[in-house]
């Protein structure tokens, strides 16, 4: 007889999305119906009567199904995403401005202090870019289906890719700045180009470390 109750609940949920929430709700309802059915039997009802009373007590579940179908993305999270997007755009704009301005102390001071100053500014800008890449909102699963899991995985991969991109572009920018700084200060143009080779090697190492960590 329990099978009859189970079959009834299954038929009620045939239009509901197939995910963890639905399965749990079904399991909960079936268990409670079986409890009720057993109580009714204990009261002396016949098996058929008990099943019918139990089934009649379920009522209209269209509201519940609707809730299960309802997408989880509400207005609040949309607004939050928009805010975060703006925030990261502002951070990137600031860091680019910092990169551009980083050469100014070098021009004004024309000595090692200027160089140190420049490095400090470049470091701040790089930190900002990396921070904004790392704090990008993660993709949240709408439900527990496989498609959503794939989307989440894809978003996670692209986040780590964009972090890597941010790091390597920052390193290249620093390299160019260092190249000019050292070259102008030492006038050793014939050898300073080696910096670019060193940078390429450093970036490969960082990339390898990044991949290993995954």
């Amino acid at each position: 007889m329990n099978e009859k109750l189970r079959a009834y609940i299954e038929s009620l949920f045939k239009d509901a999305p197939k995910n963890k929430k639905t399965v749990e709700l079904k399991e909960e309802m079936i268990q409670n119906l079986i409890d009720k059915y057993n109580d009714l039997l204990a009261e002396g009802k016949s098996e058929d009567a008990a099943v019918n009373i139990a089934i009649a007590s379920v009522g209209d579940i269209s509201d519940l199904i609707e809730e299960l179908n309802k997408s989880k993305t509400d207005m609040r999270s949309e607004e939050l995403k928009e805010k975060q997007r703006r925030q990261s755009a502002a951070m990137i704009a600031i860091s680019i401005a910092l990169y551009i301005m980083s050469v100014i102390p070098l021009f004004i001071l024309q000595d090692v202090n200027g160089l140190i100053f420049m490095f400090v500014i470049v470091a701040a800008a790089t930190g900002l870019i990396i921070y904004s890449a790392m704090t990008k909102p993660k993709y949240r699963k709408l439900d527990d289906t496989l498609v959503e899991e794939f989307k989440e995985w894809k978003a996670a991969t692209s986040v780590s890719n964009s972090t890597m991109k941010a790091i390597s572009s920052a390193i290249w920018m620093i390299t160019v700045a260092v190249y000019f700084a050292i070259s102008f200060l030492t006038s050793a143009w014939y050898i300073t180009w080696i910096i670019f080779l060193i940078t390429a090697a450093i970036i490969s190492i960082i990339k390898a470390m990044f991949d290993l960590k995954k």
């Binding site: 079986i34 007590s57 379920v58 809730e67």
Partner: protein, 114 residues
Amino acid sequence: MSIASDLIRGHTETIILANLLEGDSYGYKINKAILQKTGNNFELKEATLYTAFRRLEEAGSIYSYWGDENTGARRRYYSITTAGKAEYQKLRDEWGTAKDLIDKLTEIGGQGNE
């Protein structure tokens, strides 16, 4: 009875919260408690009960967990949160106010003597 049912259904959440204040419980047990308290006169439809559970859970008034019974029956229990206790007090006060007002509005002859 059906008009009274409609009236009561509007307070499903208060009823559930009141039940959970007495301890963690699960769907059927709550409904059985309601049946007993009303002298077999009233029982919530399961659909109404579960819709209210979801709403309360989303609002953070209650949370659920799966109990593992040794008998093989795996039940989902509900527990009231601190926010739920505050919500209960609020709903209960609202009902008190509404009850007073409805009493006053539906009374015959007993007008205020101001």
